[in-house]
Amino acid sequence: MSIGGSDLDQAILQLRACRPIPESQVRELCYKARELLIEEGNVVGVDAPVTICGDIHGQFHDLMELFRVGGDVPDTNYLFMGDFVDRGFYSLESFLLLLCLKVRYPDRITLIRGNHESRQITTVYGFYDECLRKYGSANVWRYCCEVFDYLALGALVSGAATTLEPSDAPFADLNSQASMPGLDQEIEIETLNASGEVMFRFARNSEQSSSAAEPSQNPSSSPLPTPARTGAPGTGASSSSYGSMGSSTGAVLCVHGGLSPLIDTIDKIRLLDRKQEVPHEGAMCDLLWSDPDEIDGWGLSPRGAGFLFGADIVKCFNYKNDLSLIARAHQLVMEGFKEMFDSTIVTVWSAPNYCYRCGNVAAILELGEDGGNGGFVSRANGDVNRAQVLGEKVQGREGPGRRYRVFDAAPQDSRGMPAKKPVADYFL
């Protein structure tokens, strides 16, 4: 059968109900998806507004919760930064649904590759076994892996607004409202809960901030050296975030893992031959495997692939490539998102209560469209801290306005128990 038009809509309906589609349909879908993805560059250009999402890992019901919180496709534009599969119970349904949406609304949804979108990793971490169990053969796994090879390696978001239009949502905690920046200020960061209530608002170039989520947060009680300024949860209140510095906003690079010592410009990513299994080393591997860390320069990664990279690396890269922010996923963050290195890089994690046990919340990052505010020039407010970190030379671009929506795991009451218990060969 061919998958297009109404068949595709039917498949989307079925997958939304968390029911796998037949193998023949998967094959057709994957073929269509590859035709589409082959046309995309290694770095996909994406215009704001867009909602950026991190790891999903087969947590289908939580993906549905994500769409509930962030808005449905195609009403909201989405960019998923990989790791759709492995570990969770519904990698198949999650990935196929996203792929269907991609084929159905190619300009509304962008999928880039994570380190788990790989033959070798999926045979270790679950997706292979899941396909075998759900279809009785590895065919569907093979079709999906062929799609993985065509996924883009990154995305470049342009046209994001520097300032958020503050949402007129109510405050999660009314007592905290008074301490939030007023609506006359430029809002740089806003954090909303799953009900759309404001948990936190942070004004640009201002020390005035407040967190409804963590009203008692007190830097002096932290055992670690803490910056004088307290930020929003996830903005690195206890790491190095002071809010971003600089002037007009640059583009936002989205990549699953992070940077590579072999890549100093985005153009070098564009030159890679990506249509292959993720190699064990090299630039392509690093982009999918690396992690930012509190180190200088580059370090060995405990993962055995990719590298660790420090603030200096990020700031240089952003400056050289006219970026205001790098958004990446790849690491569990208990608060759903974490900004590091003066908000030059953010980790976004979208799998709540990861593996049913981690107790974390998930987040998505909304970047608004620049509505004629492009000529915005930041005010120098004499904040001595701001220009110090790297000196004037590498002062980065001003970060885009960032709205984080934080959500919990989906309720589990409505999930029926499977009737069959396929028995593993060991027990036959």
């Binding site: 892996c145 055992p223 593993a424």
Partner: protein, 474 residues
């Protein structure tokens, strides 16, 4: 494999303890081919022999009474006062208590973290610092001193310490898994070979080891996992048997199997009358009751403690096993096969296991020739380069279980992904634990700076020796 050469003899004691040359255990498994060799070594045979020996002791026993007509069946439970504990098993449980008490000295760090708690490193530091003295206090001096006569020789204590120290997780990765559990089993196996345990009839001492030492060990591990939020080493998410443990499922299923007279008549099917039904693992109330007496249910109870969501969804492998109709003996046999395939035959797990004089990296002349199975052949070789898309490997589900062919144990990763090719980066000879973020399966040994925290995927192919450039190339 497990079901074709089940030994009924207990693990042999060292012939000549006083002349024995001990060795500092060292890593020998560097790639997939080494795993194939491992399955033919004396170390492997000894591990399996000891495991079967302990397993057999947990089967209920029937005895004919003196009137030679009436039969009695005896089964054993957790904290069973009828299981006598020898002085050495008591000492071992006290040693474990002592290690647990260090947890009170090192409360979890309240600072920012990703997942695993960095205070676990402090706990492990205390263990490292105090372990030599604790061993002197709780283990027989005449055994520890073996081989240490002249200053050149390695003592038995050194060899024992390597396995004990490797039993509690990875302080670097802040994780714990079946590789660490295997290290503890080997520690006990070493003591057995050295004659530290008294010889008894009908598995009495073995039962004491399982219920009096291994169960307390599992309790300590669970406390460590909860206190320091240790990640499952090499977690396969829902597609592994259990995030951290394997042994309690073996011994616990034996507890519920039909009574036997001797290890030789372990049945392939059936259950002890009145045993809970396998499907009961999905019922919280039954689990709550049975976990007090049974190791299998106790392990499941811990899953209930830490996971939220439907059992069939977060633990589908255990749920499927609960559908086995042929009883707990069938489950027990399957668990042994699965342990063989998913723990001992997996590169990611066993790569960290160090070999010395007691668990020796030497071919066992009695070992059957092991035909290279798919999962051993597709493990990483020294020259692994995967650059092109390869077609899906043909795999035998039975052999493969849930992990990548090159992936060692399901044990070592945590919430993070490790590269499946990654091999040890731990400081040898201490075996590294199963708890890591996703890591590259291809990773091999390298000293690596401690990560900020765990929870990452590791690359299965990760290997040693990559030097990060100091700055990006121009």
């Amino acid at each position: 494999m497990a079901d074709t050469r089940i030994p009924h003899q207990p693990l042999k004691l060292l012939d000549n303890k006083t002349e024995h040359k001990f060795a500092l255990p060292a890593k020998c498994i560097h790639d997939g081919e080494d795993v194939s060799f491992f399955l033919t070594t004396k170390a492997y045979s000894d591990i399996m022999t000891f495991l079967f020996q302990l397993n057999a002791s947990m089967f209920p026993r029937k005895a004919t009474q003196e009137d030679s007509v009436s039969q009695t069946v005896e089964a054993w439970k957790l904290n069973d006062p009828r299981v006598p504990l020898s002085p050495i098993t008591l000492k071992l449980s006290q040693l474990l208590e002592k290690l647990a008490s260090f947890i009170d000295e090192v409360p979890p760090d309240t600072g920012p973290r990703r997942f695993g708690n960095v205070s676990f490193r402090k706990w492990y530091e205390l263990v490292k610092e105090r372990l030599p003295a604790l061993m002197d206090e709780y283990l027989p001096a005449e055994i520890l001193a073996l081989g240490g006569g002249d200053s050149e020789g390695t003592s038995a204590k050194t060899e024992l310490e390597a396995y004990l120290y490797g039993s509690f997780g990875s302080s670097q990765r802040l994780d714990y898994g079946t590789g660490h559990e295997l290290s503890f089993l080997a520690f006990l196996g070493c003591l057995w070979k050295l004659g530290a345990f008294p010889r008894t009839e009908s598995g009495v001492e073995e039962r004491g080891i399982v219920l009096g030492v291994i169960e307390p060990y599992l309790q300590l591990v669970r406390r460590l996992i909860l206190t320091y939020t240790l990640e499952p080493a090499g977690s396969h998410g829902v597609w592994g048997l259990d995030d951290h443990s394997f042994l309690p499922y073996i011994f616990g299923s034996a507890q519920l199997s039909p009574a036997i007279r001797a290890p030789a008549d372990i049945p392939a099917e059936g259950s002890l009358p009145n045993a809970p039904n396998p499907p009961d693992v999905a019922k919280a109330d039954v689990v709550g009751r049975e976990r007090k007496t049974n190791m299998y249910f106790n392990a499941i109870g811990f899953i209930y403690d830490v996971k939220r969501g439907p059992f069939w969804e977060h633990s589908p492998i255990l749920f499927d096993i609960s559908g086995v109709k042929a009883g707990w003996a069938k489950i027990n046999k399957g668990m042994l096969k699965m342990y063989n395939a998913e723990v001992l035959s997996k590169f990611p797990v066993v790569q960290h296991f160090p070999f010395g004089s007691l668990f020796a990296w030497e071919k066992d002349p009695a070992a059957l020739a092991i035909n290279a199975s798919v999962h051993t052949t597709s493990q990483p070789t020294r020259q692994t380069t995967v650059t092109q898309s390869r077609s899906a490997p043909l795999r035998d589900a039975m052999q493969e279980g849930m992990r990548a062919p090159w992936a060692g144990a399901p044990t070592w990763s945590t919430a993070g992904t490790a590269a499946p090719w990654a091999t040890t980066r731990a400081q040898l000879p201490v075996p590294d634990g199963p708890n890591q973020p996703t890591r590259a399966p291809w990773v091999s040994a390298t000293a690596v700076p401690p990560p900020a925290s765990g929870n990452a995927t590791a690359a299965p192919w990760a290997r040693s020796g990559r030097k990060p450039p100091r700055k990006p190339p121009a």
